[in-house]
Symmetry: C2
Subunit: 341 residues, 2 copies
């Protein structure tokens, strides 16, 4: 490892987005007098009569949840995207808008209100993975849908409004900004090298073994060289698959195992139910040539120093570039200490 | 105004960055059961013996602040950028990093601990503007510095760790991501049209008068068509100036007046000291041809529904695109109701 990267301010290049992150390794000693997050140490019941996601309960729109036993998916009652948004283009001088159609779903990971992915069994996480696959295929086969974004917001600090374990799927007619960037970077590389950008990166990382957190037969968990968030990680399939639907049943279990390992380590890190946004980036469902895509899952956790002090992406980060204090390599060491294998 | 834009999900194009924002006008009725911010209604003293920014107090590194009477600038004691970061390039297969040199400063807007820009006199805000100009010129004339980012984080919710009215300046050897984007978009337009992108946009907005909040002889305050944050605004000089150093003394006062008007309206909107990150984007100081730049100041406030409910940019926003619920036009109406003229 180049010691310059551990000692001096520098920027690192994100090969997937083509953007840079500013790294300030010397800055982690800065004292913190700003806002502290409140942590809820409340022990949640396995069933909460007031939770609109618990089995059997009635949601705001009057619909009643079934008495589900594992994973339950429904269309978001307050969807950000409308199926029936009329098709329009708005072009007036320098003002430009396009209609956007889409379908938003909510996916309850478990009937048990008290759980999170970190304390679910691998078999039960695997059921969630199977539903992600099913939804990717069925939403993607809709002519209107060209991209399917699977994600989870965990914890109040990440804007999650209900602690019941759940994630979301927003699928839509066009490619969102972040996907567009990754599409271009992967396509450029693939057309020049006839091999997967992320696959080649993964080989290099496994060889270097400086940022690898965990691996099993089919997946690697690592902190990317260009990570933005203090304890950001990525789960990458070893084989070059364009999307989550391509993995076998055995691979799906290995993926669930990877999710289990990293979320458990996160919870141990600061002895708290670790907040994050996670998401899967994968091939668009636009019927184009998407062989350049190598799907992956990322975790963006906000915490920096403790269960109550997060990294604020404000000011310079909004107007300039993302900035981080501890290096990716330092973060990997911390996460690995908390890994149970 | 096209009614489709007020009724249906759509995306709008940001001409300055080349990226899109997802707009969901129908979604503002969504109930909120998530995290509430705490607001401090604490009345601050004009002088706080424990504040490391108040006149005469000693900072963590042992230095004593002078007994300053208006604006006071010093080099950040915990700078994210180092002046003496050695010059290096790191290239190893798909890993790529570059050293980054820079100078970070803190700028106290007033000796009075209890104030913010919103309750400072226009003359006193103007003194801050004059210092911004001076710093842009002096930092920019340093061969090492190719971009000067002026910004403010206001409020604990925006990661501000000290309520004493202050902003920051991070100046550095390369162009940060957001500046790079705006540089490209403005350059393309300028080379094709031989006129300023933002200037032409401004003319169109003034004519339409749908998103204008306030104007005086030299500046316009508006919410851009592509605004991301619920109550985002921009202050744009009517004349095509590449940077803040080009404005006259009279224009500088008019700029201070615009800052005063919008920050006062913000404070009235939710009857709270309105949090935001603000920043000035202007021509790089890289000695290149930068005539395509039209400088401007933006405000990114996080609040959405009230003093305690903010918009979370998480999940979909991190993995997809920024998303907003109320439209820019609805926000303009709300801000205008709170404008004192
Ligand atoms: O420099 P400060 O005020 O200590 O820190 C604040 O502003 C910086 C620049 O926007 C951010 O990097 C920090 O996350 C934020 O807490
Ligand atoms: O959909 P929810 O959980 O109500 O809302 C949360 O996730 C959305 C998608 O990331 C965000 O747009 C919201 O700001 C956030 O509060």
């Amino acid at each position: 490892m180049d010691t310059n990267l551990q000692d001096y301010s520098h920027k690192r290049f994100n090969i997937l987005t083509g953007e840079w992150v500013l790294v300030s390794p010397h800055r982690s000693k800065r004292p913190w007098q700003g806002q502290n997050e409140t942590i809820s140490n409340e022990i949640r019941p396995t069933y909460d009569p007031n939770c609109y996601l618990c089995p059997g309960n009635t949601r705001i729109n009057g619909e009643k949840n079934p008495d589900y036993k594992d994973v339950f998916v429904f269309t978001n009652d307050f969807a950000a995207l409308q199926v029936d948004s009329p098709n329009f283009s708005f072009n007036d001088g320098l003002l430009r808008a396009e209609s956007e159609q889409g379908i938003c779903k909510v996916i309850c990971f478990s009937p048990d209100h008290s759980r999170s992915l970190a304390d679910m069994k691998v078999d039960d996480i695997n059921k969630v993975v199977r539903v992600w696959q099913k939804e990717y295929i069925s939403l993607g086969s809709n002519d209107m849908i060209n991209y399917v974004q699977i994600f989870e917001n965990k914890g109040a600090v990440m804007g999650c409004s209900n602690p019941h374990p759940h994630g979301q799927i927003w699928s839509q007619s066009s490619l969102p900004n972040e996907v567009e960037k990754k599409d271009k970077q992967q396509e450029n590389y693939y057309s020049q090298n006839n091999s997967s950008l992320l696959g080649d990166y993964l080989k290099q990382e496994v060889e270097l073994n400086e940022r690898i957190i965990y691996q099993n037969d089919h997946f690697v968990v690592l902190t990317p060289f260009w990570a933005i968030w203090p304890f950001e990680t990525m789960i990458i399939p070893k084989k070059h698959y364009t999307d989550i639907a391509q993995i076998s049943e055995q691979e799906s279990l290995a993926f669930a195992d990877s999710i289990s390992k990293i979320t458990k380590a996160y919870d141990k890190l600061f002895q708290t139910s670790f907040p994050y946004s996670s998401g899967i980036h994968q091939a668009p469902t636009n019927n184009k040539q998407n062989d350049h895509w190598h799907w992956h899952m990322s975790f963006y956790p906000p915490l920096l120093r403790s269960a109550t002090v997060k990294k604020f992406m404000v000011g310079y980060e909004m107007f300039g570039s993302p900035q981080r204090d501890i290096t990716a390599e330092q973060a990997v060491e911390r996460i690995k200490e908390n890994l149970e294998v």
